[in-house]
Symmetry: C2
Subunit: 216 residues, 2 copies
DNA sequence: AACTTAAGTACACAATGTGTGTACTTTATG
DNA sequence: CATAAAGTACACACATTGTGTACTTAAGTT
């Protein structure tokens, strides 16, 4: 949402090109993976000079950062998270959170990997990372606080530690292992994540209050 | 343990150089991260020509693959896992597994990242990956089977799904989020992982049978 | 419609990195 | 000691990230 660069695009052509570049980058990432996401490839796919890419994104890191924001918008991050807060109580919110992870993050894996990579090797991308991490963490904190506020936080956890663990469980490694390596369906993933969350974080919820145990 | 390449080293000098190269690579990875792990850097650190590195490892992917095996041996993977099987029952084995992850995988993060990267971009490294994944999965499967065999597998899980989830929870993302971002100590990590594992996978174990709940 | 400026093109260039080729020199080992 | 493997010292091809600069085209402005 918040633009990474300070200056707004001035020209209509510029705005159009920028959008084309991001769309091209997104397509390449999905179809060919991070390694294929070179400035040359983006330029070629967008039908534009490589030099032009550098007018919009001075470095590859900035391209990837912008791509993250673009994909968040396109894939509807805000809407997906909104469903979590629409839940009637904290335990249901955890279920919704599991559903969100299964729905949204399974689609996000390639972009997420790209972003992580850039963060690791580019100090300039630190600001962008800080923002995203803070956002994720605050969402998890809100979930944990709600659970705690309703007096349903399981023994052994504090609002802080539960938030941290929930934060850690937003992991592309984990989701990829299940969905790609173990070929889990999104449904199976959502159900079992919900089960894990409930049994771990919700007090007195040995078996969840859902349509029974998942048995897919 | 199993050598990646078929042919044994023939020469004593060769064996020495190979060891020096792996040690150099390991040091670079730990001290400067994956980006710094170039063939030139390894050669320089080992006091050898860049060309010589290519005699031992035809590609960077093969170097990283060999490095993984090297680090597994040096950091004592087998010994660390052995403690898991020494546990008296399945629930205790889960605790030991949590301790293993906290002990071993926190040290492994840079190498693990490097290996993952190589896997993603190098089809030739697939064989190595297959082997490692199969090993991890079989360990998790053994844990889940034991739990199931003792009749203590929690509702909602089968031996398969529990094994898959345990497998997915061996995640550098997750461990890094807790240890690096959230500055958890290894102790804290081990305790909370154990708590998560027990409450998720062990039937009738709402609060663990350990020195009480972790409260660090 | 003419003017002005931003955006994009078409080159060329430097710096790194991977990986190969080849003739020469050193070192292990029978 | 003789021989073959291991390592050196070059040089090369290629890909990729960035930068520089003169030119052209499209978009706003008056």
């Amino acid at each position: 949402m918040a633009p990474t660069s300070i200056s707004e695009p001035v020209n209509a052509r510029s705005r159009r090109t920028r959008a084309t570049l991001l769309a091209a980058a997104h397509a390449i990432l999905k179809e060919e993976g991070f390694e294929a996401l070179t400035m040359t490839a983006v330029a070629a796919r967008a039908g534009v000079t490589r030099r032009a890419v550098y007018m919009h994104f001075p470095t590859r890191a900035e391209l990837v950062g912008a791509l993250f924001d673009h994909v968040s918008a396109v894939e509807g991050l805000a809407e997906s998270v909104a469903e979590v807060w629409a839940a009637p109580d904290a335990a249901a919110a955890l279920d919704a959170w599991a559903a969100h992870l299964a729905r949204y993050h399974t689609r996000l894996i390639p972009v997420d990997r790209a972003v992580q990579r850039v963060w690791r090797l580019d100090p300039d991308a630190a600001a962008h990372r800080e923002r995203v991490v803070a956002e994720k963490l605050s969402t998890c904190r809100r979930l944990a606080d709600r659970l705690n506020g309703e007096g349903r936080l399981a023994a052994g956890w504090t609002a802080e530690s539960a938030a941290d663990m929930l934060f850690a469980l937003i992991s592309s490694d984990m989701i990829e292992a299940l969905v790609v390596d173990r070929r889990w369906s999104r449904r199976r993933l959502a159900d079992h994540l919900a089960l894990l969350f409930r049994s771990t974080f919700v007090a007195g919820d040995g078996t969840p209050a859902r349509p029974a145990a998942p048995a897919h």
